[in-house]
């Protein structure tokens, strides 16, 4: 009797286990992919100023940052079924339902990260992850699944307020620091000043990289741990498996080493023109704020702190700040949470509607396809080590004004085929100009690497069509 029962149920049971395991593996792969995007998205926070001032060669800078991220990731110990704790209530669900929520949230985070990278905008990777999770939680569990405001936790206390405060505090501190540095060293020998500050910059940038690895890799470890708990591989009280830690550390380090050159260019060259003393002041301000805010229980986002610091270093020097670029960034920050949430919720609805493994596979294929599409789009106006320090002129942001960023982002995500067709037509016309501009830019970058010339604005005008090619 028992054998008959077993033989009757073993096959479907085994089949279900395999499908569940496959879903788990896809979720883990997606989490590592998010970690990877987190790496290249945030390289700029630590290294943009060092690359812009020439304190470090671009490859050396991202290599150093990658190594420090790798070490930093191994330093994080807080395990970690507590990811997004105080923001979403995932206790109500378990098993496959929980896996699906986490998966769709990750997809939302990745797509928003890649989209903002395509536009060269430094948005917060943590916000993208939380936004994705919040969106899928609302879709799956309703509004009550999200803790909107509850003392110092909740979306208001943990995300909204820090996001508003970080850039202001950072800009204030960095502007005072920059002002002091320039005042004190006004009479110093320029050669000694430049050399000294370049060395100092490397130290402060390294500290930011280390803190980044510790904080951000931990979030992905938490997500994978949550997935493992949902699948039943580990229990909540188990220790974090070493392979989870190692794979997350490697993923974020590889992402960092890839270098998000588009974002590095925006932060290093787009916002303000940075000199070594400003770079040191900005990085020190970032490091001090990231470390002290975590200590006082008001963790401020790395991205917004770094951006605010760089902005402040421009204000403190009395240099020109490109407020249009800052405006685009601010719009991206405002959109990060809702957009990642919207994409996450859509993916959840799609996967849930189809159901089971096929649903997850469809969304995963969609993710790979959209990321591939955005990567191909990025090849049209490449930004790499050769032209990372050349900002394509003040006129460029006019084509992608704050108002235009939102529809563009949506087009890229929601209706890729239509956007692709239009873009193809525009790009075909613009192509000769593109190659000319690219050649020009790389030549300028190489010839002037030592003297760091101002980007000749009138001459780089041919690169405009590529930046404006988007519908």
């Amino acid at each position: 009797m028992a054998t008959a029962w077993q033989s009757k149920f073993r096959l479907p049971h085994t089949g279900r286990v395999t499908a569940e395991l496959l879903v788990l593996l896809i979720v883990i792969a997606t989490a590592l992919a998010f970690d990877f995007t987190n790496g290249f998205h945030d390289t700029a926070n630590a290294m943009a100023t060092s690359i812009a001032t020439g304190a470090l060669k671009p490859r050396v800078a991202v290599g150093l940052s990658a190594v420090l991220n790798l070490i930093g990731a191994f330093l994080s110990v807080e395990v970690a079924a507590t990811v997004a704790k105080g923001i979403v209530q995932l206790d109500a669900v378990s098993g496959q339902d929980l896996l699906l929520i986490v998966f769709a949230g990750l997809v939302g985070g990745i797509l928003w990260n890649v989209a903002t990278w395509l536009f060269g905008l430094p948005s917060s990777s943590s916000h993208a992850l939380f936004g994705g999770l919040i969106g899928t939680t609302i879709a799956a569990l309703g509004w009550n699944g999200v803790i909107w405001s509850d003392g110092s936790s909740g979306v208001l206390g943990k995300i909204m307020l820090p996001a508003l405060l970080a850039p202001v505090v950072a800009a204030l501190v960095a502007s005072i620091g920059t002002w002091a540095v320039y005042r004190i060293t006004a009479a110093a020998d320029p050669g000694i000043r430049r050399k000294g500050f370049r060395i100092g910059q490397i130290g402060s940038a390294s500290l930011v990289s280390l803190a980044h690895g510790t904080n951000d890799a931990q979030k992905t470890m938490g997500v994978i741990f949550l997935a493992l708990v949902a699948h039943g591989t580990v229990t909540k009280d188990d220790e974090l498996p070493l392979w989870v830690m190692a794979s997350c550390a490697v993923a974020i380090a590889l992402g960092t080493y890839l270098g998000g050159w588009r974002i590095i260019r925006t932060l290093g060259k787009g916002l303000v023109d940075i000199d070594s003393p400003q770079g040191l002041a900005a990085e020190t301000s970032s490091a001090a704020i990231i470390l002290s805010s975590a200590h006082f229980g008001l963790p401020l986002s790395t991205t917004q702190t770094a951006t605010g610091s760089i902005l402040g270093s421009g204000i403190g020097k009395g240099a020109e700040v490109r407020w249009s670029v800052m405006g685009r960034m601010a719009v991206a920050w405002l959109l990060t949470l809702p957009m990642a949430g919207l994409v996450g919720a859509t993916c959840w609805a799609l996967a849930h509607g189809i159901g089971g493994l096929p649903g997850v596979l469809v969304v995963f294929t969609l993710l790979v396809g959209l990321c591939g599409f955005m990567w191909l789009r990025s090849r049209r106006d490449r930004v790499d080590t050769t032209n990372v320090n050349v900002w394509p002129g003040d006129a460029a942001p006019a084509g992608t004004s704050p108002a235009g960023t939102s529809p563009n982002g949506e087009v890229t995500i929601a209706s890729a085929p239509a956007g692709a067709a239009e873009a193809d037509a525009t790009a075909a016309q613009a192509r000769p100009a593109v190659s000319a501009a690219t050649a020009f830019e790389s030549v300028t970058a190489q010839a002037g690497a030592a003297s760091r010339p101002e980007p000749p604005e009138a001459d780089s005008a041919p690169s405009l069509p590529t930046r404006r090619a988007r519908p």
Partner: protein, 93 residues
């Protein structure tokens, strides 16, 4: 409302600490650079004619302070790791 009050009281601490460390350390570093560049009196051939050792010592004291601050920052980042894996408890935890 409570959220706002909590955040603002934390913010006050963050702001003070960030101003001391984030703006103060660059100022100390700048002072070091300034002292370093005024320690040597350079003659016409570009060689060092006279070195003011007191000023030089001041410059190195500034840089020493910076190095100490960076090391503290690294230890602070690693404090949870040190406490959990090696049993070394820093920063009062």
């Amino acid at each position: 409302m409570q959220t706002l009050i909590d955040a603002l009281s934390s913010l006050w601490h963050v702001l003070v600490a960030a101003l001391i460390l984030g703006a103060g350390l660059p100022a100390v570093f700048a002072l070091g650079v300034r002292l370093l560049s005024s320690a040597d009196t350079v003659d016409d051939e570009g060689g060092v004619a006279r070195r003011n050792h007191v000023v030089m010592a001041g410059a190195y004291a500034c840089f020493g302070l910076i190095v100490a601050a960076v090391l503290t920052g690294i230890l602070y980042t690693a404090k949870a790791f040190l406490a959990a894996r090696l049993g070394i408890h820093l920063f009062g935890e």
